[in-house]
Symmetry: D3
Subunit: 240 residues, 6 copies
């Protein structure tokens, strides 16, 4: 058997690394506060978020840059832990964690909010997501976006965001409204009513591009394509 | 007489707590920098703010949660101290405190701004309130709201917000305009002119709901009811 | 020759200060990480930014207040260092610095973005400036402004802001569009197309004040005059 | 019934404070991580520590000063929570908390160490207390004191400190030795063997004052009297 | 007259710097909390401390390095401000500042302690200076030095250190004892009685080098020469 | 080929991790400030330090605990980077890093000091290591240890510590003295002269155990065995 000193003289770097990983796993198994690191659902969500940032944000040059530096990514992972605490009825800790995330990242997501996988919070500053909001998979949300409530009554009062939705910078969606799969919410829009799947809304107050009766539909998945520009030509007739 | 050790053996918790409160009061009386803790106006404003958060924000589950965690509440209390310094002509300290509040909470309130009692800054990230702004009592202000100036001239150049007003997320109100008592400013609105009491404005640029000549008036106090939705039906005809 | 003790007894304050400045210069000359402090371009840009804040923001009562407290000023100077690292192909450090600036100031400027001299970031919270954005000289940008990209393709995809432009609070400018010299972008505007020089756009979606065919032109330099109000009369006909 | 607004107008400060205390108790009852705040043993220990600081340290002018500012007091209370985690077999959290206390206060107490009530850590910087150390009640420990182990074997290897002991600044006690009740350990002493009750040791290596066979005994409780000087006359014969 | 923009184009760096200095002076004159920056006594003490560090510590390569990095220098200057608050009877602020200095630098100096000019706190970690301690001019104090009290009675109970004294690392001086001008206190000494001027004490308990009756006297000023070694030969006969 | 989305759906965790490691390596290769992460000497020293902590400190229950929490380990690794900067003549950065390490960990190691592999800084608070100190391999150093200089002259003036030495808590070694291989320095010792290999010194001033002429020699390697107690019996005759 190798002695510790032999290992040290030989380097032993690989062996130490193996020990560290085994210890971390053991700690996570025995300490409830660390258990989320072993939750396969959380792990796969984190991986999907990393891939989302890497492939949707052209300024994201590497996974490691995202892992170290992206406040949207980091705030989302911290929310996933806060949400787990919330579902285990540990409200005081969950709320304290929300508050800390809000102070550090200026991203305010209620711990009860449900968030899917493959989420990109791009830039992220100023994002607010309310208590009964639900966000599907492969959604991209720019900075200053609000998924807010309406009124001071409790109950189900925040938006439901379908899979593949793209929400532009500064958009405000209020109330228990349904944003259909693959919809696109233009930057700065204020949205208070349901938006059909695969359609686009723009403006404040928001208008459905193409009109209420025959809205234009797109085939792409905007949450993945990140195409904020397709509606420029549609606007150009009457905007400037 | 009880000796300290007897007290310690008996617990003595209540007695120690009484001493601590008496000491804190004595310190506050002798040290000018702590005097604001004894100012009855500041104290009642703080209590009113706590009650406002607790009863208007359905996600606020307890006073203690607000006291510990709500950055809007904490930033507002810190502003009240900065404002007191400002009124005592201690501008450098007041401005340094404003800057610190802005760094920590991303809430930027000029120390000269006058703020009433029972104020709810909900979520609070990104709020900007200018030097000559005045905010009445029982006002609710969502995140990303700007009460801004116009131009580089000094003088009275920021909004005056009446009692009971509700200002939705991301609204921008610019210039020395008067927002009447009980008015409601829709999320994302850009407002540059006076708004009559008990009326609602929405959109960018903002429109008076019901029209300039016969604006619809509501009876509620929106700053207390927090009802962001009443105008949805009014919008639905022409928005989407 | 004076001994150190003589100097200490005499005060020697001026002499020590001279030594400190000489040492700082010597350190900056030999240590690459400090070299930017000697770059004449960076120094003159910093001075111009200070003067911009002092003369355009009526709440800015002194240079020293700005130097110590203005997060917009401090974030801009930190960006200038990050940008220098970027141009020297030290991307990991530049991106890490961007991330740190975003965490501390809630101002997110890609290190590749080119920023001129005499820039005022007023209030600054929530500003986002993308990778291929270019900002000219004597520009004033309020808080919550986005100079964003469109889509997930790389390449030149962010706005180009001409000299003397004023961008109001919460405005969102997306894509590789050109904002002409001296243009004025109203608060809360969402702009996706080029804006001619010396004209004004307002609203979401943005409209050219005066209309596409005969836009009204102003003579002032809005980035310097900071006049957000000139278009109120123009709005008043149809807004409220 | 009073409405919230009535309360706000009336002040309602007392009523809000009652709510806050009730909420804090409820949170502490339901959230395991907060449970230590309700543990009567921890509470009475904290009270006894406050009283110890107030009455033994002549520079401690008030309980509130101690509660807010004394790093020895704060580090000790944090240790009490870490120790509770340790006894519940939550080692990773307990060790992480120890490390955090060491970084913040430069006080390094292993979470397994058992500490009695009425403890004064005066100045506190640099205190090190090992894993199997036991500290009785009414003990006073100055800064830079080490209760250390000997060797790299595990097992019971740290000092056991009796009730009422006083340990002077910079004293080092090593190994599983017993410091008898009411003993006094001179500043800077290095102690490796048992010390009888009510005796004094000084020097490096430590000598028993009065000699091994007829050590001088005192009647006071040095941990409470804080008398570091009684042995000066004893030293004066042979020291200087 | 030059316009601001001309200045910006011309650089204007020198002019801006002059304004900044004038503003800082004006702020310091009007704001009591900043007044110490103008106190000529504080300023000359700070300069003397800088010179002391530069010329006595061979590892101190520049004034600027000391000004930016030396925790002993920074803690001492912060103490000077705390001491000024104390002399103005603003005890709560002074004590809070002491506590903050202790947390940040691990240097714990009671705000009532009087400290002369030209002081070098070398390395500084763990220094403790009590309430009634007095330190003369041109004194050098190494890390882990304690100037402590004895007992729990108030009153004058801490050491008085004469001009030009050198106190070695880890020395502990307890009680209202007088350390004569130019004395040298060996590292790790524990001193409880007066030390005559220009003599040396070493050991724990401390012995006067040369003996009580004919102590050896040196001519140098050890606080300035920093000579820790002169007594090695004196020790070598009987030490190892 | 797998698409990113497929990977995300499949988990793709292993693949992402491979990318992250490759990116980190690429960044470290191109960015000079990160190059030390690839230096094989630094890596093997770090591994040896980890193994030293794990096997010599009975309170160290895992490598991961050490890696995350041990301030001695972390301060030593940070020093290794500062030392590399120093050897590359980047003094200002190296000194700034030293200062930061001293503030955060209360461990003050001059960046010029040379430190071998397999070093344990146990507890670590208050350690001071001077500019020209040299520490061999497999050395264990407890808290509050000083390897200090003597006098204000520059040049080679700090201790040289041989392989396998153990230095007890609070020991102070001053001057350019040589501590032989495998020597043991008792806690609280003050050492000013060379110590022969495999011998023990204790006390202040330090005495060679067994006497100058026939010092007792041990066979163990104290830096690895961590045996602080072997000399108790030797002391017991004359100490207490």
């Amino acid at each position: 058997m190798l002695s510790p000193i032999d290992l040290a003289n030989d380097g032993g770097e690989a062996w130490v690394w193996i020990q560290i990983k085994a210890e971390a796993r053991r700690d996570a198994e025995t300490e409830p506060a660390l258990a989320s690191y072993l939750d396969p659902n959380l792990r796969s969500a984190t991986v999907a978020d990393l891939i989302a940032a890497r492939y949707r944000d052209p300024a994201c040059v590497s996974f490691s840059h995202c892992l170290l530096n992206y406040k949207g990514f980091l705030a989302c992972q911290a929310h996933r832990v806060a949400h787990k605490l919330w579902t285990e009825s540990r409200m005081p800790l969950a709320l304290a964690l929300q508050s800390r995330i809000s102070d550090v990242f200026a991203v305010d997501i209620h711990p009860a909010a449900e968030i899917g996988k493959g989420i990109l919070f791009d830039h992220a500053t100023g994002v607010v997501v309310g208590e009964t909001a639900v966000i599907g998979n492969n959604v991209s949300i720019l900075h200053h976006v609000t998924l807010g409530g309406t009124g001071k009554a409790g109950g189900d009062r925040h938006p439901k965001i379908g899979d593949g939705v793209l929400i532009g910078a500064g958009a405000t969606i209020l109330g228990n409204v349904k944003i259909g799969k693959g919809a696109k919410i233009g930057a700065g829009s204020v949205v208070l009513i349901d938006v059909p799947p695969k359609t686009t809304v723009v403006g404040n107050p928001a208008r459905l591009v193409g009109g209420k009766d025959q809205p234009r539909r797109h085939d792409e998945v905007p949450g993945e394509s990140m195409d904020h520009t397709s509606f420029i030509s549609e606007w150009s007739d009457y905007v400037i």
